[in-house]
Symmetry: C2
Subunit: 766 residues, 2 copies
């Protein structure tokens, strides 16, 4: 196959639409007389609604409906965006109702208003009179796990969501054989996705009596199911439409607005109701990344060989389970491909607290676990007095490794070449030596370099079901319509799907008309965009559908030419002789024949689904160079490079974009971003972008990127995950660079100036 | 198969949506800042644009674009809604450009304006200065065919569109053997479809740079192709969306607005532009039914056996060919199944004139030809002094007849039973005798009864390509999404498709979610709604898709139960034992398994296309009773019944609705409707519903309906055409009843009071 599109930096198919404003997002749609929905949120972290009086709110002119838990279905449902499981034990924790009579965090949804405009809706919210019975909140995992702690969900009997883990080998035995045992305690903060587009949806009841929700979601098909479950109506009575989406990062892999939006429209006779969160509401009312406290213990041999690892992790999931313990399970499952261990014991525990709900966020548990692991390894290297790069090098895993738990095998592994390239890029050896020397005298601005690695999966198999659908229809001019259930949310999947179709069929990319809007009425089934699954799992469906189209085209061409289909090929929208590449006829001629042959008309389409039962392991490394201002605690990242083994790169420019975004996200995670809560009340102190320190472009150094293109045999085009990985290793690499620069081993992120200053003081640097 | 839905009067699936106003038509859609397009129409029937100055129009504030033929592509295209033909000789006549420099009728499209609102657009039209070179118009076929007549299309070299006909047997020889030869000349008027919804569309350029046109059309996929041809762009770059449509009757089987609407949006940077015709514009600017002058000659044996028939017909197609000669070909092809003739010679001629464009209209040529034939037969019966019913009875065709031209065979024929039923309903014999007796004395209000029959085809095969696509997807709750390319335009096709799916799969009708909007981006290919093809041709695709879904469901059920698929069936959304009907499990359980089996997930869909290569002949009869006021020329229809052999009736209530509508249309055709043109200028005199006499409900008698349900073996459910047939035979039946009442043999419709009065006077009745 001529490799014309795979590996080429095709400009984004939606670039022009997005820069010209033609691309329509949920908030861009208007309907005649669209009503506005608003949510009344609890001011208390833990409280029961003793009494609620909506009389005044209802009496306000322009108010169309006021809803409390008494007015909406009280089905208990799970909001996490996973495919449904046939096995009840495997399903997400159902602990949420559409509106609640018991507030479990500051921001919990107590009541809602539908009004003719936003001003009226906001005024009506203020007229709702709620009498609360205030309860003692549990605002940390420690408090939640304490004997006799108040229960966030009484009916569950415990604040523990789950404490399932896994064990490989006999960890105690292995640790006994180790020459050294090292211990650390690490901790990550609560951050938010901060997608440019807040959560927004609008809903109406259609002409068929079905609920239609247009929403900024990563998971339209899953959303359909969850709305059906929350409302207690057949899932087929729900239709979800996803326009362009301005980022999700996992936050929109949860069903936050849609069930409430559905009952809002149903309360007003099916008229359209828009439910749009402000940035402030988005910060508390959607999802966050789990804060995790991790105890890590390794047994290491004299010569620096890692023998066994024991991880105990406590994860703070907030007021509702959402993705809950799945995050910890995934974080624990994915790091183990990176290094060879004789034994692993992984003991996570996910705990409810009266804080905003944590859910899926880019890399799903790995940023926390890998931060702990890679920070710990630098501590180990320092104690063993060997180069941290060398320690890792000695222990890297390789092709052929079989995961004894999942049966999953590493089939491509470029981690060593990634490290090699990054090392060369940064001049690791030279800089390490130079900075060590410098730092002997320099006590104000210290420089250092750090490294951190990661391994990651592609998709959710075998933990989760992996299925993707694609439908292609040949047009009369030889162009095709491509309909996928997978969702473009800004990451560029529509563009790479376009490349895959163009490549596989043999037509120019501008002859692939990608339908970017997913609509559960017509889009093939696909759970959506998460787990870095789309180019891999959906890619398999796209390839399958394209091959089927090509096959059907060549069969028609065969009838027209009396040449065996195998003697023909398609190149640049022409039917060509496979051997000589001579053009036999334009593809459009075959297309016309397929439509308009009076006795054999059969327009060419393919409609496939692919059930992936493989999972490719991707790898990568971050090298960072920092300069630390000891007196202010300010850390400046001077250089940072991510080198990824994501298999074959489908579109280098987009791939680089993914890495830029992921690293930039990790910079905030490492150094500045943190949701801060008032200690006693659990109220979020920094619910806006002035106080929540999301890095701006001015805070962001040049981010360098490189790829080691292994050829992953299970990937449809040799590719494996890239969406989430870039955000995993930068935080520990920066932390390790700070250690290198200052000798101070931080065990917590974010390393904000105040925290750094305190640590430097404690270490006697100031 | 349990017959649960076929033959049941399921309420229209869109009934609630339509009566509550939830159903959205093209005009109901709004876009932010939608611009308005308006057309400048020629005031002259035949004129060249010598000079056109748009300076003042362009300068008017609020005007965004002014277009003339110089600004738009000048590709010559055909507007008729037929599937494209691979054979250039078989294609429709291409004689239209988007805007013209030569006006060919009063109303021809000279220029266009796009402005911020309608008022501004209308003012701008008045500011366009056009200097015309006025030419002599040809306003009748006689004038057009005269030696040296001005040519409507100079480049075609003649005003004749085509004069192709056909011959079966040796007509001259057969006529020589006849005992009697009868001659008549008949004439039908120009009428308009008068759909409730005028032609309307709006267009914009989408985020992918493609032209999107939302339009009230019967033929979205064909419209896409024609817009592509008119603009000279690849067809895949055009997207057509069809919302609910408020009637078409053939007028919207033509592409009237869409190419101009496309260039309008392209002229303003792709912003949305609405192009909506007023009723007055719709009357001249869309399509009409061809006026036809028909010479008919039959040879008849002494005992009333029809031996041979010769028809010469001249059809007035107006200024552009549109469906042109196809109408005459179809009208000539479809009557020949009704009676046995030894020889037929059919010689039609379709002629251009400088009048508004005639196109497809319900029954496509048959109302004209059958009016002539059936009126002529009553003249013959009268001359032979036999009962006109008896004359027909002697000559009816029957099952087994093979059309020597097409190879098409009559496989079901209920005409005799239709006539029998209608005869009984009307008390034909008694009334005929009674009225004859009455009329001997009564000279003011005469009563009479009339009969007329017809035969008709189903779909266009073999003259045209017949293909239809359907896609069904099983939802998790066991309900299905049904996506068809066929268009609901008010006739009820979505409802009967729903019944077909429910019947064939074995689920309740409310579990079939019909997607009523067609969108060329996602809807399967289907040329659209015309030729009474949908329940028949699309029905085959729907059945095929449903059977495929059922088969796939049962295969999954087989895996779940280890029962042979053949031992299982689906009834009322349950998997049942085929023999005992015992419920094994709900269908939803199989659906869930198909989606969520982690190792065999494969959501169940079917995506089929059906290429029909059969054409079923339907039959029917109208019996009418009239009372004629001789002095005023007023005809009152006292009773009218249509009895149809349309094979199995899928939905009796909807079928009756079709007949009511068709008969009501024919009442206007027979008695009142006619587009009247100023003799010298060709200007339409009655371009509105005050002056154009469309019958209102007060003018409409109770319309009776009955069906003779033959079982058509080629029909997917035993069914054959019903959409157009009801409108064919009422006009001649009424005309024959007037003859019976008054002895005056009208040879022209409409029989308006003035015309009737003149004829009665000439006949000495006044």
């Amino acid at each position: 196959m001529a490799n014309s599109f795979i590996g080429k930096s095709l400009p984004r198919t939606d670039a022009l639409a997005k820069v010209t404003g033609k691309a329509k997002y949920t908030g861009d749609f208007i309907a005649r007389n669209m009503l506005v929905g608003k949510i009344l949120r609890s001011p208390y972290a833990h409280a029961k609604v003793k009494n609620i009086d909506v009389t005044k709110a209802k009496a306000l002119p322009g108010v169309e409906a006021v809803l409390t838990y008494r007015d909406v279905p009280q089905n208990v449902y799970a909001t996490a965006g996973h495919p449904y499981s046939l096995d009840p034990k495997h399903r997400d924790v159902a602990d949420k109702t559409i509106l609640t009579a018991k507030a479990r965090f500051v921001g919990d949804e107590i009541a809602a208003v539908v009004a003719v405009d936003e001003t009226t809706a906001v005024r009506a919210l203020k007229l709702i009179e709620v009498e609360y019975e205030i309860m003692e909140p549990v605002l940390s995992p420690e408090a939640a796990l304490a004997e006799g702690a108040p229960l966030v969900h009484e009916e569950r009997g415990s604040n523990i969501v789950s404490s399932a883990g896994y064990q490989i080998g006999d960890i105690d035995k292995v640790l006994q054989t180790a020459d050294y045992i090292f211990d650390d305690e690490m901790e990550t903060g609560i951050v938010q996705h901060c997608a440019m587009e807040n959560h927004v949806s609008y809903a109406y009841v259609d002409d068929d009596g079905r609920v239609v929700i247009v929403t900024s979601t990563q998971i339209p098909h899953i959303c359909r199911r969850i709305v059906g479950q929350a409302l207690g109506i057949p899932w087929g009575k729900v239709r979800i439409i996803k326009p362009y989406v301005g980022g999700g990062f996992g936050s929109k892999q949860d069903v936050c607005l849609e069930p409430l939006n559905a009952v809002m429209t149903m309360a007003v006779g099916g008229r359209p109701v828009k439910l749009e969160l402000s940035r402030e509401e988005n910060m508390i009312g959607t999802r966050t990344r789990h804060a995790v406290k991790i105890k890590i213990k390794t047994g290491v041999s004299k010569n620096g060989k890692l023998l066994g690892i024991k991880i105990d992790a406590v994860s703070n999931t907030g007021a509702y389970a959402s993705h809950g313990h799945s995050i910890m399970m995934a974080g624990g499952a994915k790091f183990k491909y990176l290094y060879v261990f004789e034994a692993i014991k992984y003991s996570p525990c996910t705990v409810y607290t009266n804080l905003p709900v944590a859910g899926a966020m880019r890399a799903y548990g790995s940023p926390q676990i890998v931060f702990a692991l890679e920070s710990h390894l630098d501590n180990v290297a320092r104690k063993l007095n060997i180069d941290p790069l060398e320690l890792r090098w000695k222990n890297f895993n390789k092709e052929g490794y079989l995961d004894p738990i999942t049966g999953n095998k590493i089939l491509s592994c470029g981690i060593k070449e990634c490290v090699q390239r990054g090392k060369e890029f940064l001049n690791w050896d030279e800089k390490k030596a130079l900075f060590a020397k410098e730092n002997e005298h320099e006590k104000n601005r210290c420089r250092g370099v750090g490294i951190a690695c990661f391994s990651y999966g592609t998709g959710t198999y075998p933990a989760g079901l992996e299925v993707a659908g694609a439908r292609i229809a040949l047009n009369q001019d030889g162009s095709v319509q491509l309909l996928a259930g997978a969702t473009e949310i800004g990451q560029g999947s529509d563009t790479v799907f376009t490349q895959m179709v163009a490549e596989t069929i043999g037509i120019p990319a501008n002859m692939v008309h990608m339908i970017s809007t997913q609509d559960t009425d017509v889009s093939p089934y696909d759970p959506g965009s998460f787990a870095s699954r789309q180019t891999y799992v959906t890619g398999m469906a796209i390839k399958k559908a394209s091959l089927e189209i090509k096959d059907k085209i060549l069969k028609v061409a065969q009838k027209m030419t009396d040449q065996p289909a195998a003697a023909l090929d398609i190149k640049n929208a022409n039917i060509v002789d496979r051997q000589s590449d001579m053009i036999i006829m334009p593809l459009s001629q075959v297309a016309l024949q397929s439509f308009y042959d009076p006795h054999a008309s059969s327009p060419i389409t393919s409609d496939v689904s692919h059930n992936a039962r493989v999972n490719a392991i991707s790898f990568g490394v971050t090298f960072a160079e920092v300069e630390v201002d000891i007196k202010t605690g300010q850390v400046e990242v001077k250089e940072i490079i991510n080198v990824h083994d994501s298999g074959k790169i489908i579109n280098r420019q987009l791939a680089e974009g993914q890495v830029h975004g992921g690293v930039s996200m990790a910079l905030g995670y490492a150094l500045s971003e943190q949701m801060l809560f008032e200690e006693k009340t659990g109220r979020l102190l920094n619910n806006n972008f002035l106080d929540y320190k999301l890095p701006t472009i001015l805070d962001t150094p040049d981010i360098s990127v490189d790829f080691v293109e292994t050829d992953e045999p299970t990937g449809p085009y040799g590719n494996k995950s890239l969406g989430e990985p870039p955000t995993i290793s930068p935080a520990p690499a920066i932390r390790n660079a700070i250690l290198d620069a200052t000798g101070v081993a931080f065990n917590r992120i974010p390393i904000r100036p105040q925290y750094a200053f305190e640590e430097f003081k404690a270490a006697g640097l100031i």
